[in-house]
């Protein structure tokens, strides 16, 4: 009889919704992260026995539409991962909850300033950085030494000199730098280093004919004009790793994911011959700034379990979990204290990212940014190919971007009569 009672009581409690029933949190995460994060969940559920996390894994290629259709269809999860350039869109939709009252000032201190800043819109925090990325210089140490440079470039002038020396090395097709000409990131990084605002008047208009952007753009085009970088688009580089190993190019501006890739895909003989370094700066202010990238965790405004959702975010943000996640994925921790662990402190190639992460800035935080970025890529490619002059390309870019921002201007006018 006792046994039966023992079995019945939880069943009865469950049936009338007693406190023994677990609250199920829905958590959407993308790509590899979505798969790997599941292995952290048992620990979370052990610490919070009243909670159960249902992780849904979403492929990166469909992530953006999945989140927006879920919003449109009132089917948002409680917690979700989102690329930090997507935050402005979800703020416009009022789809994410503010985290201002949840994050303590002390916790906030621990985040890279430039990164957490991407999550702040109109002075309010809408997401918490989960992992971070930025772009910096990957280079072949041996080729730089052969060209007479024992250290990576610290200024734009040194950078050009290094490229010139590499181009002058004997042995055929050699380039100092690989710049896939259909990417917007490098031109934008250079412009940000020059202090360009990219957009002006509270992001009402494009600002691409400003001095700062123009100088950066000219520097970028110059690299191609002087033949220091091959005029190829990303798709035309058949095998990046092979080309890097063969010395076709000696430097490449890319992100942390390539540390893992390079370690796996470059031949063994190459492993002692490449390194990473922060971006060169236009002046003596080394290191130059780079892009604040990465992914954040956010709570859906529609969630009825916001407090529990925050517990999950807090858990994933603990330095210990951040480290565990780094070990599983190679994704860089968003909290500085996690970087103190020997695993990271001794990884020299990764440490360059630490230095760089202290010097990152955000791209304009407006929903139109992705479209603007694709326009930058489009006109940059035209200018590199010589189809448009520098002036024509920048004028066309301003014109297109002004058109993209037309709705934003209308909304701003409407809001402030």
């Amino acid at each position: 009889m006792r046994l039966i009672g023992f079995l019945l009581i939880p069943a009865l409690l469950g049936a009338c919704g007693g406190d023994r029933e677990k609250t199920v949190l829905e958590f959407w995460a993308m790509g590899q992260e979505g798969e790997v994060v599941q292995s952290l969940m048992p620990e979370f559920e052990r610490l919070h026995p009243e909670l159960q996390v249902k992780v849904q894994q979403i492929p990166w290629s469909a992530a953006h539409e999945k989140l927006l259709t879920a919003y449109a269809g009132d089917a948002m999860p409680d917690v979700f991962q989102l690329g930090n350039t997507w935050i402005p869109e979800f703020v416009v939709l009022k789809a994410v909850d503010s985290l201002d009252n949840r994050l303590t000032a002390q916790q906030r201190e621990d985040y890279f300033e430039g990164i957490i800043e991407t999550n702040e819109i109109d002075g309010r925090l809408h997401g918490l950085p989960w992992y971070v990325d930025t772009r910096l210089l990957f280079y072949r140490t041996d080729i730089l030494v052969k060209a007479g440079f024992s250290a990576p470039p610290r200024t734009w002038n040194e950078w050009l000199a290094t490229m010139a020396a590499i181009a002058a090395l004997p042995g055929g097709d050699r380039y100092g730098l690989l710049l896939p000409m259909n990417e917007w990131q490098v031109p934008v990084i250079l412009a940000l280093q020059m202090g360009s605002e990219l957009l002006r008047d509270e992001a009402r208009f494009g600002n691409f004919r400003s001095d700062a952007f123009r100088q950066a753009f000219r520097f970028y085009l110059d690299i191609f004009r002087r033949g220091y970088a091959p005029a190829v688009s990303e798709a035309q580089i058949a095998n990046l790793y092979q080309e890097f190993a063969s010395g076709y190019f000696a430097m490449y501006v890319t992100g942390p994911w390539n540390i893992v890739e390079f370690e796996h895909r470059l031949p063994k003989s190459m492993q002692g011959r490449w390194a990473t370094a922060p971006m060169p700066a236009p002046d003596e202010s080394y290191p130059g700034v780079s892009l604040a990238g990465g992914a954040s965790l956010a709570i859906a405004r529609s969630s009825s379990r916001k407090d529990q959702a925050w517990k999950l975010i807090e858990f994933l943000s603990e330095p210990e979990q951040q480290l565990a996640f780094y070990r599983l994925t190679g994704d860089l921790p968003a909290r500085r204290s996690a970087w103190l662990h020997p695993d990271l402190a001794t990884a020299t190639r990764t440490q360059a990212f630490k230095t760089q992460l202290e010097r990152v800035v955000s791209t304009p935080k407006i929903p139109e940014w992705e479209r603007i970025a694709s326009k930058i890529a489009h006109y940059t490619e035209k200018a590199v190919r010589g189809e448009l002059t520098e002036e024509q390309a920048l004028a066309a870019l301003d014109k297109d971007v002004d058109r993209i921002l037309e709705k934003r201007r209308w909304l701003l006018r409407k809001r402030a009569p």
Binding site: L68, E234, R371, K407, W410
Partner: protein
């Protein structure tokens, strides 16, 4: 038992359920789509309907100035004009082979060649992505055997569309083959018998009997194929996501990306309608042209 409970207009009750569904779930959305294409429905409007504006033909004008649209249109035309005729030709060839009077086990051959049509595209994409694999793929292996250079099928902007076309033909040719076979079988045998008596060669028989008699089938097949091929979406979606360098971005895929990835519904609706107009023009042109020929 007599049950004259039905109202006088019985036909209405037979038609109503299906027609109401078609009107509600097809005609109404099509009309709404047309309206949508005259607005600037975007992510702002999704969050708050007050932020929706009527913009007349703005979306269509923007479309004409959008290099991405032209790229998508160019790619789609490439697919229709190269893939379409090739696909019809392969179907006709297969039909002639299967239907040849000397061939035995016609039914078996027909069914086996038809098999790709019923398969699930997403599953097939998995296989073909592997066949196209630059290092381990079978196609490059075959090229190697023939002493040719290997190709990065889905990674090279020049080869990605041909790769999509090849897969699409493989997947679809069986459908048209069946229709051609039916067309061939409807040609009266006595015509051939008369031709043989007149001493006409096989080629002359094909040229002067088979082709003209097949003309209606031909019109049907080309029109259907063209309409289908203009709507190219799933193949590049699962194989390449429109890449590399937008070389397989089709108009339908562009619509999907604008609509569901970025939620520029107004603009996406304009893309969809433009696609519709292009298809309509193509269909009418083709029917006119054929009618004059026949």
């Amino acid at each position: 038992m007599k049950t004259p409970l039905l109202p006088a207009n019985t036909a209405f009750w037979f038609l109503a359920p299906a027609l109401i569904l078609i009107v509600v779930f097809f005609f109404l959305p099509v009309a709404a789509s047309l309206l949508l294409s005259f607005t600037d429905f975007d992510i702002y409007a999704l969050g708050d309907h007050e932020r929706l504006r009527f913009v007349a033909l703005d979306n269509y004008l923007r479309l004409l100035g959008d290099p991405l649209f032209w790229t998508a249109l160019k790619n789609t035309l490439y697919f229709v004009l190269v893939g379409g005729p090739l696909s019809v030709a392969v179907s006709l060839g297969a039909a002639l082979l299967v239907n040849h009077r000397l061939v035995r086990f016609k039914g078996l051959f027909r069914s086996l060649l038809f098999l790709p049509v019923v398969t699930t595209l997403v599953a097939i994409a998995v296989v073909w992505r592997y066949l196209y694999h630059p290092r381990y793929g079978f196609l490059n292996y075959l090229l190697g055997l023939l002493g040719l250079d290997t190709v990065d099928w889905l990674g090279d902007p020049d080869w990605a569309m041909p790769a999509i076309i090849l897969m699409a033909i493989w997947k679809n040719f069986g459908f048209n083959m069946i229709i051609f076979i039916a067309g061939l079988q409807s040609i009266p045998v006595r015509l051939y018998e008369a031709a043989v008596i007149d001493g006409a060669s096989t080629w002359r028989q094909f040229r002067h009997i088979t082709l003209p008699m097949l003309a209606p089938t031909f019109v049907f097949v080309t029109v259907i194929t063209m309409i289908g091929y203009f709507q190219l979406f799933a193949e590049p979606y699962v194989m390449t996501q429109g890449g590399p360098a937008n070389s397989t971005l089709s108009v339908a895929l562009l619509m999907f990306q604008e609509g569901f990835r970025w939620w520029n519904l107004g603009y996406a609706a304009a893309v969809a309608f433009t696609l519709f107009l292009i298809i309509l023009t193509g269909t009418v042109l083709q029917l006119r042209l054929r009618r004059r020929e026949i």
